[in-house]
Each structure stands twice: as C-alpha cells, then as structure tokens.
Amino acid sequence: MLSFIARRLLIAIPTVLIISFFVFSLQFLLPGDPVLAMAGEERDPETLDRLREQYGFNDPFLVQYFNWLTDALRGDLGQSLRMNQPVTALIVEKLPVTFQLAVMALIFAMAIGIPMGILSAVRKGSWLDYVANFVALSGLSIPNFWLGILLILLVSVNLGWLPASGYRPFSVDPWLSIQTMIMPAFVLGTALAAALMRHTRSAMLQVLRSDYVRTARAKGLREKVVILKHALRNALVPVVTVSALLFGELLAGAVLTEQIFTIPGFGKLVVDAVFSRDYAVVQGIVLVTSVAFILMNLLADTAYMILNPRMRDGA
C-alpha cells in the first residue's frame, strides 16, 4: 500500500515538472506584451522599460523558468501584473470562493444524481429508468453557460426571486452568500449530477447482480433492506471515488459559470488573466489546479484500494 503511494508520488514528479515547464512557456508563446497590456493607455517607453526590468522580462528564458520554479517551490508564485498583488495571495483569496461553489455544486449533484441512479438501477428497463437516463444525458449535453443564462432570464429577470449575481463572501453573510450561489451551483452541478447518476446506476446494477445480494435476497430479506443496506453500501464505493475525480472537473467547469454569474473566483481570475496577459496568474492557477488534480487522483485511487479489497490483491 505504502509502496503504491510512494510509486505514484514518484511518477507524479516528472508529470508536475512537464506541466510547470509547459505552463511557463505559455508566456513566451502567447502573443501580446504583458507590459503593454498593463500600461494601458499610458505607455511611454520609459515606463515600459522599467516594468520589464522590474518583472525580470529581460532575462533569458531558462533563467526565468528556473527562478520561477524555485520560487514556486517555496510557495511564491510571483506577482500579478494587473492587480499588483502576490499570485499566492490571490489564489488563497479566490480559492474559498470557488471551493464554496464547487462544494455546493457537489451537494446538488449528489442529492440529484445518486438517488436517480439508484432508482433507475432498481427499476431497470422501466419508463422511470428511461426518463432518468434521458434526463441525465440531457444534463450532460446542456451547455452550462446557456443554462446559466436561461436561469438568470427566468429566475432573476422574470421572477425576481434570486439575485442575478453579486457574490457575498460566506464569512460576511452566510445566508446571502448561499442564496447568491444557489443558481451557479445548480448550473455547475447539473453535468456532475448526470455523470454521478450514470455511475451510480452502473455500479448498482453490478452489485445487484452479485452473489451476496442474491444471498441476501435468498435469505428472505425485504427488498428495501437489501438495496439500502447491502447493495448501496457497496455501490457507493466507486461513486465516491468518482466524485473525488469529478471535483477536479468542477474547477474547470467553474470557469464559465463564474463568468456568467460574475463570481470573483478561480475561474474568473484565470480567464481575466489570460485576456490581460497576466502570466504569473495563469501560470500559478494552472499549476495549482493541476497539482490538486493529481493529488485528487491519487487520493481517489488510494481510497478505492482501501475500500475495495480485490483491487488490493491485484496491486
């Protein structure tokens, strides 16, 4: 077990290095001078030169990369050109926002996806199964930025029930914070709910076919008990690990959702940064999300191994 984790961590090192190199070279590939973008309307040559010098843009590529990497290892991801703030501080500041959104989306997704998956597995082949499947597939197919627009149109513009946006930090006003996050979290959660529904359904189907469920049934246990106590517990193992994996995708999905609802989180930060050529921010965010994603993967795999003895023997 430990050797498995150690091996995975070792393999992750070159992966992270590749990502870091790739992410850093973006700055040299992207057209557009960050200093010009930063100077805006007031771009006299002296200011530009001073800024270039200040941010080390005049050093050779590898020197810049090395400096950036060693700083990053110490937790310093550089300085945002646009906001004049350390990137690490920005990320620490935005992380809770996107985290709240992602957690609320995950709650939505689990609350909708898992029961739907169970029902459709138990009633396999029924009209309910068909409807649930179709709804799930629709959830996967609907572009979430459109769903966001439609919801704003309906709920905010026509009905006036929920604010169209206006993020409030949870720490300042928890209730309002949750209120303003309901729509974005729902939008972000739909695709995930659909994925979870499908995973739950297939996991349930597999478990329902297994010997111990048959044994339980043969013992004359009531169907409800069989499903909830025996089948579900086992079926949830892969579902939970999948949720951990999908959490990474939530971060990517948050990009557009945050754009639509103007939530000042991670996703919005990265899009704005790409457009204003705020490289340090793009680099920092991609690096952090990628590392988080790799760790999530590792966590999911490890959890899966612990929870599933058969896998353990195989490894």
């Binding site: 057209p31 557009g32 805006g40 001073r50 500041e93 169209a164 930090p169 457009f275």
Partner: protein, 504 residues
C-alpha cells in the same frame, strides 16, 4: 396590497435615512481599481474612487472650466513659465497632517521623481515647485504648457499626505491618505473599497453621506440587476442599450452626458509594411470609407441613440469642435465614385482589428455591412485587447478600431495620436504642417489661437482621414430614484458634493 406595503415601507426607510441616520452609498464600478496611489495608478475607475478620496489643486465644472479646489487662485507670469497658486488654508489630510505649500512641493516632486510614477510624463514640462509662503507655491515649467492646468485637475494634481507617503513608500496605495471628503477604511481586492466621511473636511457642509462603498461588477447587466434589487444605490456606465428600459423604470434615475473620449478607426498610413496597402496609401479610399458610414444609424442600432455621432477628436458640443466640418451624412454614391476614380470600381479589401467584446464587434459588423454596400470588403479581426495594443504598436494592422477615454484639454485627444513623435501614433501619420499646428496649440495659453490651429489641422485631417472618427460615448449613470444632487460631468467622475437621499 403587498406592493403598497413595500412602497410604504421603502418610503419610511427613505424618510428614516433622510432623518439623519447613517447614509450609505454603494456604487457599482465596471472594474476593480488598481493601486490607490494617484502617482502610480492607471485605471479609470481608480480616478472615480479618488474623486471621493483625494482632493486636487483644481477641479473641473461640467462645462470644462477650471475652478478652485485646494488652490483658491492661480496665475501665470508674463512669459508663461511660472504658475503661482494660492492655497486653501483650512485643509488637513486624513491623518491630521496640515495641507500647506510644503505638501504641494512634496507632491509635485513625487509625481515627477518617484520611479514608479505614471504622472511624470503628464507633467514633463514641469521643472520644479517652490514654496512662496505657507499657503502659496510657484510651479516652474520649461516652456508654455497649455495642458498643465488640466493635468493638475486630475491625478497629477491630487494631494496626498507627505507624512503617510514617506512612511509607506510605494505601498501607499494599500492605505491611501489624502484630504478628500472621505477617508479610506478598507479594501478587499476585486470585492469592495470602503470609505467613510472625513469629519475635518474643509467643505463638510456639502457632504451628506456617511459611508461610500465601491464594488467592482464588470458585467453591465449584472450591475443593473443589482441596482434594481437594491444591492447597489448607483452604477456607472450603464449599457447604452439599457438606457431606455432604465429610464422608464420609476424606481431609477438615469443621468447621462457626452464624454470627452472618442471611438474611431485608426488607419495604418505609415507604420511598417502593412501601411503599404491601398487604404494606407490612397487618401480617396479612406475618404470613401468615411463617407460609407452612416454614423447616425450606427448610433441608433448599436447604442439605441444614447451616444453622440462624431467625426472629430472632440465631441460636437466641445468648444474646440470645428463647426465647418459637421458630422457628415452618409453618401454612398460619392463613396462609390471615389472608389471608381481610384481604380477600385470592382471592389477593394480592408482588414480592421477590434477588441473582441460584443459591443465593439457589433460596431464593426455594422460598419462592415455599410462598407460592403459601396464596394469595400471589410474583413474583421477580433483580438483581445492586450494583443490588439501589441499589434497596433508593431504596425501589424491596416485599420484598428480603438477608443480613447478622452482628456479635458483638447491636446490630450489629438497630439499623441497624430504627431510624428506622438507616443500613441500607431497609425504612423506624419505631416510637417499638422506637427507645427499641434505643437503650436500645445505651447500657448491663448484659447482662440489654439482653436485656430486645431481648425487648420482639421482641414488636413478631414481630407486625409488618418483616423476615421465614429462616435463619442456618453457616460450613463443609473441610481436609486431617491438620490438627488448628482451632477453628471463629461469627465465621467462621480462627485459626491451635494449628493444625498431625498427626505420624503
């Protein structure tokens, strides 16, 4: 019934607010401000925040006349090299430091010499400032500079506390100390900037608000939605297309004024290889494009008529606007003739780049359609703003649809774009006579003489069309109908003197 109750309740609340309860004004801005240091800052929204936070030596009326703020009076010596300013005597900074001639000298020096200063180029003509007595200074310039007063009426003229500046250095922006009507409380990046009433403000009688909160909300429709829901009290830059609906809403008050800036197509006539194309070389083609555009229709379709069609760097109501060249009617026949005469009767192509936001895209789509009708095939290249500036400076464009936020002094709208040595002359326009005229207008304080020089330059520019001006945006503010006393100003700032909630 329910509605009535709500109305009664809000009336009651408004009455309570008017009756001396804490008055808070929450203003939605289009962007987040950058560092709140007048010498380092570069954003437009930053200037809006300063209007509440930092007083300037001089202020500007909506008619663009200079009026006293921290300076009570000023005058030039005979050869226009020394500007003597008398200062207000009852002013203290937010940290209690008294405002005096020493402070002004310190501030001018900081604007000129702080390595991070963005103001040094704006007041490059200034050689130095000296104390005359406790409440008078003299500012020396190397040669007559017609733009200096306008600069002192903006960020270069904002006075910050020397004590605080010394203590904080370049970090001043995270805890600014000025002498304006409101003092800094706290800031959360991308979220809020909070100010509170400064009790020792020299003009405190005109200040009726207790706190002001600036909230950056980039999405225009979201800003409006927040205003409607009551989460904001006032927003700047309402979308032109929301102007009508907001005006019809009884709960809102909408104010607008034509801004100082312009939007136009900068033609590459002399910046690198891309200037070699037909539109860079042939005046007649630029003239044809100019005549192909129906500026009124453009304004109606893209902005519901809320902006002002334009054909010069100054808006039509500016005193420097040349009435001999009014905004032209669309003349497709003449445009087609010009193309024929130039030997492009069977069509000609032009590539124009613009920022990839929906509004600028729509503007160019409209122009594209209008140009197509006279035989000009305009292809569009939507580019992110950052790349666009880069391409523009590098000369990698034929036409570039770009705007300028505008300056109080006319020089700021024309010199740097159309002077051979202009810092923003990306189109590469270079003409001996227009250089003389633009330099001349910069180095005299005689308004009539300046106007004559700009007029003569206009004759050349109108024939040559190095920049095809399209329209002048309007500043549109929307606010809670209970707010009164707001006066729109073409500089787009929000002045809070006299602003209050109506007491019902």
């Amino acid at each position: 019934m329910k509605l009535k109750q709500t109305a009664a309740l809000s009336a009651l609340l408004a009455a309570m607010a008017g009756a001396g309860h804490a008055q808070e004004l929450r203003i939605g801005l289009q962007d987040d401000a950058d560092a709140l240091d007048p010498d380092q800052s570069r954003t437009f929204v930053g200037r809006i925040v300063y209007t509440a936070l930092c007083d300037k030596l001089i202020d500007i009326t909506p008619d663009l006349e200079f009026i006293p703020q921290l300076a009570t009076d000023w005058s030039w010596n005979d050869d226009e090299t020394e500007l003597t300013m008398q200062l207000r005597e009852d002013v203290v900074f937010h940290d209690g430091t008294p405002f005096d001639a020493e402070a002004v000298v310190y501030n001018i020096d900081r604007s000129l010499n702080l390595p991070e200063s963005r103001r040094s180029s704006e007041i490059a003509s200034v050689e130095g400032a000296e104390v005359v007595d406790e409440h008078a200074v003299v500012i020396t310039v190397s040669q007559t500079d017609a733009t200096l007063l306008a600069q002192l009426a903006d960020r270069a003229g904002m006075m910050i506390s020397p004590a605080a500046a010394e203590e904080q250095g370049t970090d001043f922006g995270s805890n600014p100390v000025c002498s304006g009507p409101f003092s800094f409380v706290e800031r959360v990046q991308q979220d809020r900037i909070e100010l509170e009433r400064f009790d020792d403000y020299w003009n405190g009688d005109d200040i009726h608000l207790d706190t002001v909160v600036f909230l950056p909300i980039p999405d225009t429709s979201v800003r409006l939605a927040n205003l409607r829901s009551g989460d904001l009290d006032m927003i700047e830059r309402l979308a032109a297309t929301d102007f009508q609906t907001a005006s019809n809403d009884d709960a809102l008050r909408v104010e607008d004024v034509v801004a100082l800036g312009y939007q136009g197509i900068t033609m590459n006539v002399g910046n690198g290889e891309r200037a070699e194309g037909p539109f860079g070389q042939e005046t007649a083609l630029r003239q044809a494009l100019h005549l192909a555009i129906d500026r009124e229709a453009l304004n109606q379709v893209a902005f519901d008529g809320a902006f002002a069609p334009g054909n010069q760097p100054f808006p039509p109501d500016s005193p420097f606007y040349d009435d001999r060249f009014p905004v032209p009617e669309r003349d497709p026949e003449r445009a087609r003739e010009l193309l024929e005469e130039a030997g492009h009767g069977d069509g000609v192509t032009l590539e124009v780049q613009m920022a990839n936001n929906p509004v600028q895209t729509q503007v160019m789509e409209i122009i594209q359609a209008m140009a197509a009708e006279v035989g000009i095939d305009v292809s569009l290249r939507a580019t992110e703003f950052a790349t666009m500036l880069d391409q523009q400076a590098a000369g990698n464009f034929e036409g570039s649809q770009v705007g300028w936020s505008g300056r109080v002094d006319p020089d700021g709208n024309i010199h740097q774009f159309l002077h051979c040595e202009g810092g923003l002359n990306d189109g590469g326009w270079c003409h001996e006579r227009t250089d003389e005229l633009l330099d001349g207008a910069r180095t005299t304080n005689d308004v009539d003489a300046r106007k004559d020089m700009y007029d003569e330059a206009r004759e050349i520019f109108d024939a040559e069309q190095p920049i095809i001006y399209l329209y002048h945006p309007s500043w549109i503010w929307a606010m809670d109908a209970a707010i009164e006393g707001f006066v729109p100003n073409p500089d787009g700032m929000i002045r809070l003197e006299g602003v209050r909630y109506a007491a019902e």
